[in-house]
Amino acid sequence: MPEISRDEVAHLADLARIDLDDAELDHLAPQLNVILESVASIQGVAGDDVPPTSHPIPLVNVFRDDVIRPGLTPQEALSGAPEVDEQRFSVPRILGDEQ
């Protein structure tokens, strides 16, 4: 894998919605490079004829009967919410200023 720059780490953190500060970027960026170098050996190991495995024990068409069974009450579903308003999850504004 190519060297990953501090700016790229900042960009990836942004994509992953993690607000890393400068000190964290300085700390993590070199470690990430070491990790990525160690997995780079995987390139070209398997040829085009090898199918990928996404699940170790393949299962297809997993269905179950569509029957009503007890679920969470609204109160239970909301019990861990940071903020609740009229039996709903209350969230900060979702649109930016420009929208």
Binding site: A16, V45, P56, L59
Partner: protein, 510 residues
């Protein structure tokens, strides 16, 4: 029976309960007392528990005793206390995954594994410590402070399930549940001198197991004896309609296999020693104890051959691409909206600002590292070269296993390349930490089951060594046959279980 029941196995305790020689309340109280005297906190003691539910456990125990008095126990293990890794949801009990982002969360539902344990009447002593979201091999990545190895409190208990392994090693619980994504049940078992089993992928429900890497995660038993693991494995296994990756096959015959194995006859069994899992970086004392166990298998009648699994050398790289990729997706749900921590920055923050601030404050370094590596591996331009390759290597590893199982019934290796290292030694060297899982990762990638049983103490440091046995998918019974045979042969040579050689634990100040 002896004055204190805590050193007895779960099977023995079940027999004591059935014979009326003890009560569940008595057993539960004895274990709670042990926790109070040796577990301590983040700064001293074993620190295997993040939460102890004395009141709930004693109430369950009293109900169990009433059932038994009425002649209606729910299960052979009804009344035998258990500890649960804090990555499984427990209704009404805190479930933190050892992360700040879930501090104080009390789930409104039970994991299927927990539901089965409750339905069988086992009192739940509490929730055990772990690396944050099960990411690590030392339990040092817990946001609430590390667990310490009962054999030497300045050393790691393995990870991620160091809390569960240390709890059974320190006689704080006779049984515990762990989860194994790359070795998190087996490696802690190895370094604490206990038994740990990773069942076949899909044979124990993942419903309510907070996912780290969903195609690799599997819950399983953590105990002091092979028979105890078999009893617990049969209890928690089986098909679950709430887990779409759950396999249909019933989980039976494990206890029988353990009992058969303990008789000590392995004639007709073909054992393959994995050639690739040895060499530089493998501690001499680990290799010596491993070879001793292999020789014992031969003595018990098994036919031992060397087997090559050439793709295993790529298992680490494949794992450290597949796992972080799944991590980056699975942990996206921690978004500060529906449950868990919410950090609101100054000003008029948007939902996205809140998410970013919360995830920065709520996740520890190792979680951040893995999410970022996974985000990278899945980004366009790198996907085919890395993540795609890793998925193909998974196929090659499965083919290696299939070819090996054409020749042998089980494969064996040391569980971990080293004994327990010192706390702090590898904390900021992620790669050195990752190497701990060299021998355990292939089984997760291929979905096959594995067990770690004690193999003795390394000559260099007097610390426990683990012996790993791997079997084909859905042939978990073979682990128990071989594990129990080895355990019985070792116990005969040592004059008792390995844990009897562990130093006595100091009581912590109360």
């Amino acid at each position: 029976m002896s004055t204190s029941p805590i050193t007895r196995t779960a099977a023995e305790l079940a027999d004591d309960l059935a014979a009326g020689a003890t009560t569940s309340v008595e057993l539960t109280r004895a274990h709670l007392d042990r926790i109070a005297s040796v577990d301590g906190d983040a700064t001293e003691g074993v620190h295997a528990f993040l939460h102890v539910d004395a009141e709930g456990a004693l109430a369950s125990a009293a109900e169990s005793d009433a059932r038994r008095a009425a002649g209606a126990p729910l299960h052979r293990l009804d009344g035998v206390p258990i500890a649960i890794k804090d990555v499984l949801t427990t209704r009404g009990l805190p479930t933190t995954c050892a992360s700040k982002i879930l501090e104080g969360w009390r789930p409104p539902y039970d994991a299927t594994v927990v539901g089965k344990i409750r339905a069988a009447g086992l009192p739940i002593l509490g929730k055990t410590n772990m690396d944050e979201f099960a990411m690590g091999s030392s339990t040092e990545h817990s946001a609430y402070g590390p667990t310490r190895n009962p054999w030497a409190l300045d050393r790691i208990p393995g990870g991620s399930g160091g809390g569960s392994a240390a709890a059974v090693a320190a006689y704080e619980a006779p049984l515990a549940i762990g989860t194994d994504t790359g070795g998190s049940i087996r490696q802690p078992g190895a370094v604490t001198g206990t038994v740990g089993v990773k069942p076949t992928y899909g044979s124990v429900s993942r419903y309510g197991l907070v996912a780290m890497a969903n195609s690799l995660d599997q819950a399983g038993p953590v105990t002091r004896s092979v028979l105890d693991s078999a009893l617990l494995h049969e209890l928690i296994g089986g098909h679950d309609p709430l887990d779409s990756t759950s396999v249909q096959q019933p989980v039976t015959g494990l206890v029988e296999a353990a009992l058969q194995g303990a008789s000590g006859d392995l004639s007709g069994l073909r054992v393959g020693v994995i050639k690739e899992l040895a060499g530089d970086g493998w501690q001499p004392g680990v290799m010596a104890r491993f070879q001793e166990s292999v020789d014992l298998l031969t003595k018990l009648g098994a036919e031992v051959v060397e087997v090559s699994c050439p793709s295993f050398v790529h298992a680490m790289a494949a794992y450290y691409l597949v796992m972080p990729a799944e991590v980056s997706s699975n942990l996206a749900k921690f978004d500060a909206m529906r449950f868990g921590l919410r950090v609101v920055p100054d000003g008029q923050p948007s939902a996205e600002d809140v998410m970013k601030a919360t995830r920065d404050a709520g996740f520890g370094d190792e979680v951040k590292r893995r999410i970022i590596v996974g985000t990278y591996a899945l980004s366009s331009g790198y996907y085919d070269a890395y993540y795609g390759q890793a998925q193909k290597v998974r196929t090659l590893i499965s083919r290696d296993f299939a070819a090996a199982y054409d020749r042998v019934d089980v494969l064996v290796s040391p569980t971990s390349p080293t004994t327990a290292f010192k706390l702090g030694e590898k904390l900021d060297d992620p790669l050195a930490m990752y190497l701990q899982d060299l021998a355990t990762i292939p089984a997760n990638l291929a979905g096959v089951p594995g067990i770690s049983v004690p193999a003795g103490l390394a000559d260099e440091d007097g610390l426990p060594v683990g012996f790993q046995v791997l079997a084909p998918a859905l042939a978990d019974d073979r682990l128990y046959r071989v594990g129990a045979a080895l355990e019985a042969a070792h116990a005969a040579a040592w004059g008792g279980p390995l844990l009897a050689q562990a130093p006595a634990l100091q009581e912590v100040a109360r």
